[in-house]
Every structure is written in structure tokens, then in C-alpha cells.
Symmetry: C2
DNA sequence: TGCTAATACTTTAGGTTTCAATTATCCCTG
DNA sequence: CAGGGATAATTGAAACCTAAAGTATTAGCA
């Protein structure tokens, strides 16, 4: 009835399971390192804003972070409430909103970004430089593939 | 002030970013393939149950799927409401609950598991068998590392 | 100019997720 | 055999997340 999986298909399913497992294990660890400070999604937004002093729109953030714009509304609301970021309507196109860091937000980034960066490096420090390079290359290949399927 | 990142640290941060990006891109695609049927977390639970006719406890599911037990309560509630699974208290230890598939749930699994498996294989079909093998090996190494940090 | 379609964000409904606090049960030791 | 500590699941609060519908605003074109 069911046509059985080819070994090549099985290998790919196994790859997906491993990818998901690594992601979730790492996520769990990194989240706990950030916990007292801010949430992971909030960090992701802050880190993007930090490298764009001119501000970012919801659309561009949504694209970079792979989350829906509807989702960002809430995250930015909370950042705004904490005084770390603020909205600014684009006067040239009043549909668009720029999100920018406040001074407090920038200061905060200067503290937690290096800290979080260090956590990541430490978490992955057990891998050889060689393995890291191989993984990066192969994942780039995979990302290119997945990007293409998106359109 | 800030001591700058070594190139080896930078490489590891880049690896994490790529891993997260691939995970999220793939997740987005696979979710939409499953959408009309059930949610991804529900699928994950069903797929585990399908290979354990004797049932699984919340604790063991929690461990396998890397989610908290509190989270599973809700997911299993919804599966139960849909008539796909049911709870059964362990008479030998009334603290434990076995979760099992109903007939309807088993039938349902027979339909969607092959379908989802096929979606995964198709999504990753653009990678060479060689790249798949390399990635699997390297991710196994990474998972072992992350597992160890967990304890 | 004025209508229509597209774009940008928000809202809503339904799930998911975590952490922390509870409840129920079991185990163990005095 | 009773109390204290561990284990299993649930509950509650807050945040995240998506898809789909809604609201403003802009752009394009007849």
C-alpha cells in the first residue's frame, strides 16, 4: 500500500530531525542565559535595530527575522513599554513605521549583545574550527535552497 | 572597553545564525504543508505515539520532544478533544498517565505521517546525498555536545 | 480626478511555549 | 505507619506565533 521510503529520503528526514534537535537544544540553553534580561524574540529585534540607526520598518524586520508582522506588533509594543524602542511614522509614506532604539535601548544593547554573543561562542566551543566551517558551508547551501522555494 | 571577538568566536556565532535561519525557513514550509490537518506540535506528539502502542507518559514525551510537561497538557487536551488520543492513568503508579492513540488517531497517522515525510524529503531534495551525510554527521556531533551541556 | 488594487501595519482567534506554583501520589526512613 | 521529600501532571500568567480579516494610506491608471 504505502510505497516505502528510499534510503535517500530516509536520510533527509533524519537530517531534518537532527537540525530541529540541535536548534531546540541550543535555543533552550541560550534562552536561559538571556532570561533575566529580555526574551529571545525581543533580543532578536533589538539586535537588528542596533545595526540600523536609521530605524527599520515592520516589513523589513519581518523578512529578516522570519516572523509575521502581526507578531512584531506585540513584540515592539513590549519594547516600547520598556522604553527600549519607539515607533516613528515615515512622513514620506504614512503607511510605514520606523522602529528605532531609544538611548536606553542602545545602552542596553551594548550590554547584552556582547554577553549573548559570548554565550553562543561558548556553547559551540566544543566543535572544531573545521567542523564549524563545514557546517556553515553546508547550511548556507541549505538556506539558499530553502530561500528559493519560498518565493 | 569591549574585547573584540576572535575570528573563531565570530565563526561560531555565524553558525548559530545559519542554523536558526535554516530551521525557521524549513519550519515555515513544513508547517504550511501540514496546516489543514493539524499543527506541528500536535503532529510531533502523534508521530511519537504512533511508534509506541503501549502509550507514552508526559515525562517521556517531554524529554523526547524537548518541550515542558506543562505545554504537553494543552496539546494532549486538544488531541483528546479531536478524538485522536486519550489519557489512561497507570494503575501501578497513579501519578503517571499514559497517552495513547485512538483508532481514529492511528488511522489519521497512517495518512499524514507518510505525507509529511514526503514533504520533508522533497524540501531537502536539492541537497546532494553527500551534503546530507556530512550535515547529519556534523549535527550529531553538535547534538552530543549540547546534550552534554544539559545535565 | 476618481476608482481600484496594492502595501503596511494592527487586530483577532486559536495554539504554543516557558516558568513557577499547585495538587496528587508514591517512596523512604525513622 | 506516619511524616517529609521526591516525582508526575496540571494550572496560571505572560509572552510568542500564525493565519486571516480589518484599517489606513498610497499608487496607478482610465
Amino acid at each position: 500500500m504505502e510505497n516505502p521510503l528510499s534510503s535517500s529520503e530516509r536520510a533527509r528526514v533524519g537530517l531534518w530531525i537532527r537540525l530541529a534537535r540541535c536548534y531546540n537544544l541550543a535555543m533552550r540553553d541560550l534562552r536561559s542565559g538571556l532570561r533575566e534580561e529580555c526574551t529571545m524574540p525581543q533580543f532578536d529585534v533589538l539586535a537588528q535595530l542596533e545595526r540600523s540607526p536609521e530605524g527599520l520598518t515592520f516589513s523589513s524586520l519581518s523578512e529578516h527575522l522570519l516572523v509575521t508582522a502581526g507578531n512584531l506588533t506585540g513584540i515592539v509594543d513590549r519594547l516600547e513599554k520598556q522604553g527600549l524602542a519607539f515607533r516613528e511614522t515615515n512622513p514620506k509614506d504614512r503607511r510605514q513605521t520606523f522602529i528605532k532604539l531609544t538611548d536606553k535601548g542602545r545602552e542596553y544593547c551594548n550590554k547584552i549583545i556582547p554577553q549573548h554573543t559570548h554565550d553562543i561562542a561558548k556553547l559551540l566551543s566544543g566543535l572544531s574550527d573545521n567542523t564549524v566551517q563545514n557546517l556553515r558551508g553546508d547550511l548556507d547551501q541549505l538556506a539558499a535552497l530553502l530561500d528559493r522555494k519560498q518565493e
